[in-house]
């Protein structure tokens, strides 16, 4: 029986793209289904009732959610072009830095993009501190210098492409080539990989989209008091 793989995603979600990159690196054929995250389909709500988010991978009748969990599932199911290293210590290190970048950099950078005042200042400071730690790791360890792209590259790939857009939309600076030379080198290598460079969302559309999200998100977290 032929295997069927479906991916529910969103056109500019860095979390969706991680999974797409992994599937492409493994040479897995899949059907991509675009989800309107502002008008979630009943399919999505059935497949991921806990978080109601994309990406969701459906492999035959098996449903997997949460992008890092999906990455590991894809790695274990299709063994060609392994993403995670074999050595347990190196695996733990890759998982650690993926988690760190997600919790400390991505959240902070996203918040810095849409927020204002003190909240923005703190988020900016936190983002820079987190990026400095990642720079330190890039310099010392060899995960990112390998010839083949791996789990950690996919986990933090958004830094190379989404972060510059968020910086512009948020009128802020987190990254600079002078301050982060090791990350700069990695970014160039990552974005020029044939399977990555042809699988990125259009930048102009991304700008429009995130510009359009900035103020509504701010207003959601800072509702105006009602006039009496």
């Amino acid at each position: 029986m032929a295997t069927q793989v479906k991916l529910l995603g969103f056109w500019c979600s860095p979390f969706s793209f991680r999974v797409e990159w992994a599937l492409k690196l493994k040479g897995v054929d899949y059907d991509y289904i675009e989800e309107d995250i502002f008008n979630k389909s009943s399919t999505l709500l059935e497949l991921n009732p806990v978080h109601k988010k994309v990406p969701v991978l459906v492999h035959d009748n098996k449903v997997i959610s949460e992008s890092f969990v999906i990455l590991e599932y894809v790695d274990e199911t299709w063994e060609q072009n392994p993403l995670l290293p074999k050595d347990p210590y190196e695996r733990a290190t890759a998982r650690f830095w993926a988690k760190f970048a997600e919790e400390k950099l991505l959240d902070a950078a996203w918040t810095a993009m849409w927020s204002k005042g003190e909240t923005k200042e703190k988020a900016l400071k936190d983002s820079i501190e987190a990026l400095e730690k990642i720079e330190g790791e890039f310099k010392e360890k060899r995960h990112f210098e390998g010839e083949s792209i791996g789990y950690l590259d996919l986990a933090v790939g958004w830094i190379a492409y989404w972060l510059p857009v968020w910086e512009e939309v948020g009128s802020m600076q987190i990254f600079s080539q002078e301050k982060f030379p090791a990350i700069t080198g990695w970014m160039a290598k990552f974005l020029s990989h044939p399977l990555i460079k042809d699988n990125l969302p259009p930048k102009d559309k991304m700008h429009v989209y995130f510009e359009g999200r900035r103020d509504p998100i701010y207003n959601y977290f800072n509702p105006k008091p009602e006039d009496n």
């Binding site: 806990v50 997997i64 959610s65 590991e72 599932y73 274990e76 199911t77 733990a92 650690f96 988690k99």
Partner: protein, 272 residues
């Protein structure tokens, strides 16, 4: 090499049209190998390496539900380790902790033959992968493994914050924390269903990552003024089942001792 071996080998080499003098050289080489080099390969065998003692150190803090996860996992695998208590009440972090976890400066940290592994759910997976011959904590099927990792991720993201609010805050914030905590426990109870453990028939990764909150339930209930058993009876049944396991009851601190710790902390935070 026996006489028979040599005879067979010479026949083979003759068939391969190898000259007599070269045959002799080859046979001498093979005899020297089997006498001297081959026995040395024992020292690279897993049989030998396993007999060498691993150095395992755990940096921890006694009430931590994250540290307990690691202790349960090590106990399940029968791994001997050195336990080092960090004085976090007085915020006196040891040099070793700061050196081994410079990024977060938090416990638990597992130091295995000098190399640090941080973040409790990552440490538990590491333990499962290194000491893989005993008591598997994760299933072998990729889809079942993904389910386990999904629920541990859910527990990691959702439980701690509202749990903390039930004992560490007052008024509206505490009420909201309590409500959220109960909802999350109900979701987990639903996921457990009729299974004895989250992974099915055997105690595993998800069970380990959730059971360490069990000794904190008493404190949450006392300060939050609710009964988890009334809200989630099946979950409490599961917890009692897990608590019968030696790795669990020998690890988890007494719930009254945890309660005493919460009282001290509340005083320190100026809540009482």
């Amino acid at each position: 090499m026996s006489g028979n071996d040599t005879t067979t080998l010479r026949w083979l080499l003759k068939k391969m049209r190898i000259r007599n003098d070269e045959q002799v050289n080859l046979i001498i080489f093979l005899q020297l190998y089997s006498l001297f080099l081959q026995p040395l390969t024992f020292f690279f065998s897993s049989e030998f390496l396993e007999t060498m003692e691993d150095e395992v150190i755990l940096l921890d803090f006694w009430p931590s539900m994250f540290g307990s996860r690691v202790r349960i996992a090590l106990a399940e695998k029968g791994v001997k380790y050195e336990y080092k208590e960090e004085d976090l009440v007085n915020n006196k972090k040891s040099d070793l902790l700061l050196q081994m976890n410079p990024v977060h400066k938090t416990i638990p940290v597992l130091v295995h033959n000098g190399k640090p592994i941080c973040e409790s759910s990552i440490i538990v997976q590491y333990i499962d992968e290194v000491w893989k011959d005993k008591a598997p904590l994760l299933p072998s099927d990729p889809y079942q493994r993904a389910q386990a990792k999904f629920w541990v991720d859910y527990i990691d993201k959702k439980v701690n914050s509202p749990g903390r609010k039930t004992w560490c805050t007052k008024g509206e914030e505490q009420e909201a924390g309590k409500k959220e905590f109960v909802e999350i426990m109900k979701t987990l109870e639903e996921q457990l269903g009729e299974k004895p453990y989250f992974g099915g028939e055997t105690f595993g990764f998800v069970d380990i990552c959730l059971i360490t909150y069990y000794c904190w339930f008493y404190s949450y209930e006392k300060f939050g003024k609710f009964s988890l058993e009334a809200e989630c009876p099946k979950l409490i049944e599961w917890a009692k089942r897990c608590a019968q396991k030696e790795s669990v009851f020998k690890t988890l601190p007494d719930e009254k001792k945890v309660f005493g710790f919460c009282i001290e902390m509340r005083k320190m935070f100026g809540l009482d």
